[in-house]
Amino acid sequence: MTLHRPLAAAAVLLALAAPAFAAGDAARGAESFKNDCAACHTVVQGGPNRVGPNLFGVLGAKAGEGRGGFHFSPAMARSGLTWDEATLIRYLQAPRRVVPGTTMSFQGVDDAAEAADIVAYLATMK
């Protein structure tokens, strides 16, 4: 029994960490993206920039760079962020807290689970 202790502890740790990194559900994410993001962002390859930039392949990309010459705010361009999963999940919940001064006026999705779903969806678009 004692042998399993570390494993159990690891499982607990994993469970605790899960909310932040849980693999989101891409299908639900697609639905959320349609409701919350599509007004300002296209996501298909070669899609046009709108109020926000095209997001094709954004997962893993550097923030505020490229995107077909999109005019990023100085705040975004200088943020130094890379859009890994964790950063995106934080950003989508409170854009202006993660990148103060960003011109993305979206106030944030409801919770981390929804953000994770959207990120899972974005991960499929590359």
Partner: protein
């Protein structure tokens, strides 16, 4: 001419209830061309003016957000036409609703408007409407809202700060509880209108110029304060405005505060507001009006398939009629009015809408201010009016993949307004045998924006 105040109140009431539509109509494809967003992004039911959270933010940011380098200058212009058919339960041969209409069953071109909408420069944007009023055959400056706005962190709190130059207290508000943007969003201008309405209920709309400063702090508090004055008669004349409009004796002040809790899917709001205005009267002294009230809203947008909204407003007006009373045109120096209004709406797939609402106006008895006269008068000398309204709407376009988006949009509506009490009574309220229910109105409208 002998009783100058009564027609003026009637004008205020007309502005408030009958002609209220003239301040409402705004769903403009110019915004959609600027942002490349469909109407549904900013509007509940895919048609203005009812705003979603995204729409409120776009408005508070001064209509400036744009896709890429924005549209060509001419794409900032939009047009809108509203046509209708009005049937009242009993016609009004004694008092035709307008100089160009019949006693009942009137088809009308209610209004045709030209808009400029959108960004002018970095943080400056505008919403400007010029309207041909088809009822009174008048081309005039309608809504004007020119803004400068910034989104900034203030002491670590995300804040939108702005100023708005506009021509109607409450028009800068992002909610749908104040009269300027309240339901019904359109109403017949050819149906009998109650004898009295509070000044804030459209009495100054378009007849004043002013500025307000506003802030939305942390997405939780919205506050606005403004000051307004009357246009000089010359300016009003060139603007095509009503020469008989109410004239402020000195600048009017307006403020509102709201607490809100909003996410991308819902809104809860409770607020308070007030306006202080003094109206010039011929002869002795000005009439003073203190309007104040409370409001509340909710919106559930969910995944946009089923959407519910509810809005309520209570508005009280204390009147001190120095001029009117001094001139012998009211029985009391002090009168008051209270208005209560509540509406619930449901939208399915942003295409089919149903709305129900109740309204009630009560006020002091004043046998001189409110007198018997056919259709528009009150034999009881009271402004008390109450009833309900129901509306069905159909908005076939305006969705992301709609035909003609972002070039045109259409709303067809069927609205019914029923009165259980009108100008103080249910039966023979005007002293000429007319009952409140004779004013029940069916209003069919087609509203096109391009």
């Amino acid at each position: 001419m002998q009783k100058p105040y009564v027609p003026r109140l009637a004008i205020a009431a007309m502005l408030a209830l009958g002609v209220g539509w003239s301040q409402q109509a705004r769903a403009i494809p110019a915004f959609s061309r600027q942002t490349q967003e469909p109407c549904t992004s900013c509007h509940i039911g895919a048609f203005g003016p009812e705003l979603t959270g995204r729409g409120r933010t776009f408005k508070l940011l001064g209509y400036t957000e744009q896709a890429g380098d924005g549209p060509s200058w001419w794409e900032h212009f939009s047009g809108m036409v509203l046509g209708s058919f009005t049937h009242t339960a009993a016609g009004t041969p004694q008092a035709k609703p307008s100089a160009h209409s019949g006693a009942n069953d009137n088809f009308a071109l209610d209004q045709a408007s030209l808009f400029y909408g959108g960004r002018i420069y970095d943080h400056i944007g505008a919403f400007i409407q010029l309207t041909e009023d088809g009822i009174n055959r008048r081309f005039h400056v309608d809504n004007v809202d020119i803004r400068y706005a910034r989104q900034q962190d203030v002491l670590g709190v995300d804040t939108i700060l702005g100023i708005s130059a506009n021509n109607n207290p409450g028009v800068a508000d992002p909610y749908h509880t104040l009269p300027a943007w309240g339901q019904p969003f359109v109403a017949s201008a050819l149906a009998p209108s109650p004898i009295a309405g509070a000044i804030l209920n459209g009495g100054l709309a378009g007849q004043v110029y002013g500025a307000s400063a506003y802030a939305r702090v942390g997405g939780m508090v919205y506050a606005e304060a403004g000051i307004y004055n009357s246009l000089s008669r010359d300016v009003a004349h060139y603007g095509g405005l009503d020469p008989n409009a109410l004239q402020l004796a000195n600048p009017a002040t307006f403020w509102r505060v709201a607490l809100q809790q909003e996410t991308n899917r819902r809104l809860f709001e409770v607020g308070a507001f007030a306006m202080n205005a003094a109206l010039r009267q011929p002869g002795s002294g000005a009439d003073r009006f203190l309007d104040w009230g409370m409001d509340a809203s909710f919106q559930f947008l969910g995944n946009r398939t089923h959407m519910f909204t509810g809005y309520g407003r209570w508005l009280h007006e204390d009147q001190t009629l120095n001029g009117t009373f001094g001139g012998g045109n009211s029985a009391n120096l002090r009168d008051h009015l209270s208005e209560l209004r509540g509406n619930l709406s449901y939208w399915y797939q942003q295409t089919y809408g149903v709305t129900g609402g109740i309204f009630r106006t009560t006020g002091s008895a004043d046998a001189i201010l409110y007198q018997a006269s056919p259709v528009g008068g009150s034999v009881a000398g009271r402004p008390n009016t109450q009833g309900y309204m129901a509306e069905l709407d159909w908005v076939p376009f305006g969705k992301p993949d709609s035909y003609l988006s972002p070039w045109a949009n259409l709303k067809l509506g069927l609205q019914y307004t029923a009165f259980s009490r009108f100008n103080g009574a249910g039966q023979n309220y005007d002293g000429f045998g007319r009952n409140a229910s004779n004013n029940n109105t069916l209003y069919l409208f087609a509203w096109v924006a391009f």
